[in-house]
Symmetry: C2
Subunit: 213 residues, 2 copies
């Protein structure tokens, strides 16, 4: 299980400084939507330059203009870029095609997708599917439910995002068993981010150790 | 009927230069999603500084993190900002609340919304509803269908976007009767953008003249 550090609502320099403190404990770096919308594609470029050996995920949340946006991301150094599962399928087709051409990956964000949409999305076998409790759902409704299993995405690469903390990660690992856990404020807003990230890593290694037994 | 000039897939300086050529014929200036994602919020700030007397629409396509994104847009000088109709309703609630606090407007982009979602969105009486044929749907499937009437949004402020040109605007005006027509490449890619914009304005004035008779 990989840890993706989500960086949001901060300056690029702050994102770099924060990542330096935790880089030994995390696997992927997410350039959050708010960084891209506030500072543009420069946010992806600067993160890749600062951490050339990490996987960089651009959370661009494409919903149209897929070729233009995905080419921007990959040219800027992103290894993975996101598209909304609620997009027209033609948009997701283009994302898959561009990613394939660049030998990069697509993460499909399942935020607010219907069951029917989820079933249709199963045709994208090379994608990573992200079960996503949005910031607004967490902050306004207190929701943290990522579902109780991989459901229609059993056998696919699955990621989980939204309000994951040290108390919830073990249950999440057992129920959803994601390939990637996306952690934001539980690390970035911790009193000691380095210590928090190390604890997440330790818990994940323990959980995987138990599973391997 | 107002003309909203959509600026996409270009540098900020090019967007300003192009808008200078057509400003007498257009009403609203749309800072396109691609400008925001490529260059950040600076794209909104620079357009408002260059055209302080025009209405600036920030096509930020919010789908989460609504308070942060909408405050960024309005603080940068936007008069209208967009949210996706496929978002969780809690996100759209926040957009409406922030816009209300700033005395600004929300445009709800209906791209890929279901009939059920459209009916739910009718509760946002102060919003502008945008019937949207996406770039990807136009370019990959050749689709240009904006529907044949205002449907569930009869009596609401409606905008139409996607592939509108000099041949289609009269039919669109008659069938959908939008408050705002969003025109991109039919002006920005015209051999003579100033002439193209003036023709759109003339056609709209004629159509409105016929209706007033």
């Amino acid at each position: 299980m990989k840890i993706q550090l989500a960086l949001d609502r901060m300056e690029i320099a702050e994102a770099i400084e924060l990542t330096r403190k935790v880089e030994d404990s995390i696997d992927w770096i997410e350039v959050g939507t708010s960084l891209i919308k506030e500072f543009g594609i420069a946010s992806i470029k600067e993160m890749k330059q600062a951490f050339p050996n990490k996987q960089i995920l651009a959370d661009i949340k494409t919903i149209d203009n897929a070729r233009y946006e995905f080419e921007l991301c990959f040219e800027a150094g992103a290894d993975v870029a996101t598209v909304m599962g609620v997009s027209p399928l033609v948009t997701i087709d283009i994302c898959m095609e561009v990613a394939n051409r660049y030998h990069k990956k697509v993460m499909i964000d399942l935020l607010n997708t219907s069951d029917e949409q989820k079933r249709e999305l199963r045709k994208y076998k090379d994608a990573i599917f992200c079960e996503h409790v949005s910031k607004d759902q967490q902050e306004e409704s207190g929701s943290q439910n990522h579902g109780t299993g991989q459901g229609v995405f059993s056998g696919f690469q699955v990621a989980a995002a939204g309000g994951i903390n040290l108390d919830s990660i073990e249950d999440l690992a057992k129920s959803l068993n994601p390939a990637v856990v996306i952690i934001g404020s539980a690390i970035t807003k911790a009193v000691n981010p380095s210590e928090a990230a190390a604890k997440f890593k330790q818990l994940i290694l323990q959980t995987e150790g138990i599973k391997a037994c």
